[in-house]
């Protein structure tokens, strides 16, 4: 029992796994390996409070080195694992040293999808603290901004750039915004919100390349040949799970490291959590969730499994996105719904849309209605029956439909 539990990746999932392993009672060493130079930090505020200037980099720190040391978690930053030797249960590093493990947790995250030509000066991805710091510097001097990708990251950035008075064009290949994550109704509401706030939306527009002058970007060429002038471009067209280490070691991967709902991979000594994973659900389908909740809950499930307990992650998925003064909170799913009803007022961006399939509530999206969202999480997790009429009726308190229970 002298070997450590080693976690590759010091983001939200990796940190949570390290702390959960301690909470579950592991007495041995815990080693947390990060390839970024920073202690674990909150990533969601990068495209929100950090880029808008409300928070400093230090304020994003989840746990400082001293806090980790007190929990006897050894953090090593700026380090990359080159290879996993599964037979020897040993990690090999690029500088030649190696580290044997008792159990290994992969929390390697995901990286941004790149476009050809994106190495021009003035073209940025937004994933890491260093990315956000570079964008923040460039943003001050920029005049016209193009955002490629109308997903959460792109739209949150667009909102910040508009608040700073910049001219902003959002280019999205699909015919609606955030198409992978929200219903067409929500997409439409957000198209109106961004248009009202002065963003120029180019939906259904592919990108064929960049225009440059002296190595710096000056515009984006769309697939119809038109050119959007821009001196700063942020590319937010999704992420690719970092599964290469696992894949090369023969751990089964598809669109992510395949795990069950308890965090097990195909190797009994290796577990995985967070953005690098894809979960095999009970019905055989694969689910990829890129979210804080997934990172936290999968990490806890991994730690429990390692310590011989079984605590699979099964809660309804939730996400949120802050754009301008509108907070979008989503729980469950809107995919394949056959009925939707609205509670509240769409015009003023204070509403929730409830989605039903076969008369059963499957999800809801809330705009500036956190109470609906929080009640919705419990309704879904506890499988409480809700009629569309109740959902639409502001007179029906959602929390009142929940079974009475002790609060702790």
């Amino acid at each position: 029992m002298n070997l450590p539990i080693v976690i590759i990746g010091a983001g939200q999932a990796g940190l949570q796994a390290a702390e959960a392993i301690r909470t579950e009672g592991w007495q041995g060493d815990v080693i947390l390996l990060g390839d970024e130079p920073h202690a674990p930090y909150h990533r969601p505020p990068l495209s929100k409070a950090y880029l808008s200037g409300e928070s400093s980099a230090e304020q994003l720190t989840m746990r400082g080195p001293d806090a980790l040391a007190r929990k006897q978690i050894t953090l090593r930053t700026g380090i990359r694992v080159e290879r996993i030797d599964r037979a020897e249960r040993t990690l090999h590093f690029s500088h030649g040293s190696s580290l044997p493990y008792h159990r290994l947790v992969l929390a390697t995250g995901a990286r941004t999808r790149q476009l050809a030509g994106a190495d021009l000066q003035g073209v940025f991805a937004l994933r890491t603290l260093d990315d956000a710091t570079r964008i923040a510097q460039a943003l001050e001097a920029a005049d016209s901004i193009a955002v490629i990708g109308g997903g959460f990251i792109g739209l949150e950035f667009a909102a910040i750039a508009r608040k700073k008075g910049k001219s902003v064009t959002v280019i999205e290949a699909a015919d609606r915004l955030m198409a992978r994550a929200v219903s067409a109704q929500i997409s439409e509401i957000y198209a109106r919100l961004h248009t009202e706030r002065g963003v120029s939306l180019r939906l259904g527009s592919g990108v064929s390349g960049f225009v440059s002058a002296n190595g710096a970007v000056s515009g984006v060429t769309l697939s119809d040949g038109s050119i959007i002038s821009a001196d700063l471009v942020v590319v937010g067209v999704g992420v690719i799970p970092n599964q290469e280490l696992a894949d090369a070691a023969g751990v089964i991967c598809e669109s992510g490291v395949i795990v069950d709902s308890s965090g097990r991979t195909s190797d009994p000594f290796i577990f995985a959590c967070g953005d690098c994973t894809a979960t095999r659900l009970a019905d055989g389908r694969l689910r990829r969730l890129e979210s804080v909740q997934n990172a936290i809950e999968q990490a806890k499930a991994c730690a429990a499994t390692i310590m011989g307990k079984e605590r699979p992650f099964s809660a309804a998925p939730w996400f949120w996105s802050d754009q301008y003064d509108v907070k979008l909170q989503m729980v469950g799913t809107s995919a394949d719904h056959d009925l939707s009803v609205i509670r509240g007022d769409v015009a003023t961006y204070k509403c929730s849309i409830f989605y039903f399939r076969d008369t059963t509530l499957i999800g809801l999206d809330s705009l500036n209605r956190p109470q609906d969202h929080m009640a919705g999480r419990r309704l879904l997790d506890q499988q409480v029956f809700l009629t569309p009429e109740q959902a639409a009726d502001e007179g029906v308190a959602l929390a009142g439909l929940l079974p009475k229970q002790a609060t702790s």
Partner: protein, 106 residues
């Protein structure tokens, strides 16, 4: 730098220097104070940084509507002095603030 004392769920007291402008959550979590989850990182989107303000009641700025709505969904008992620690920014006049953390956040 003003000091804040956090009372962890175990009863253990931790006093730390909190830079002006930082939230009570940021200072607590980055220093490893026990009893705050802060899953959303301070976006007022999760209600897992619930705390009880035990002093300076008249000095702490009142909660905005979004915080009040989220707070009602905190898991532990909600009291008159309940707040979300991510929404309270440190200022000089909060020197010596005492913050109690609940038994559970999730």
């Amino acid at each position: 730098m003003p000091k804040v004392t956090y009372i962890e769920p175990s009863g253990n007291q931790v006093t730390i220097d909190v830079p002006v402008g930082w939230s009570l959550m940021q200072a607590a979590t980055s220093n490893g104070v026990e009893g705050i989850e802060a899953e959303c990182g301070g976006s007022c989107a999760c209600a897992t940084c619930h705390c009880y303000i035990e002093s300076h009641a008249d000095q702490v700025p009142a909660a905005e509507q979004g915080e009040r709505d989220m707070l009602q969904n905190a898991v532990a008992e909600i009291r008159a002095n309940s707040r979300l620690s991510c929404q309270i920014k440190m200022s000089e006049n909060l020197e010596g603030l005492v913050v109690r953390l609940p038994e559970t956040q999730i």
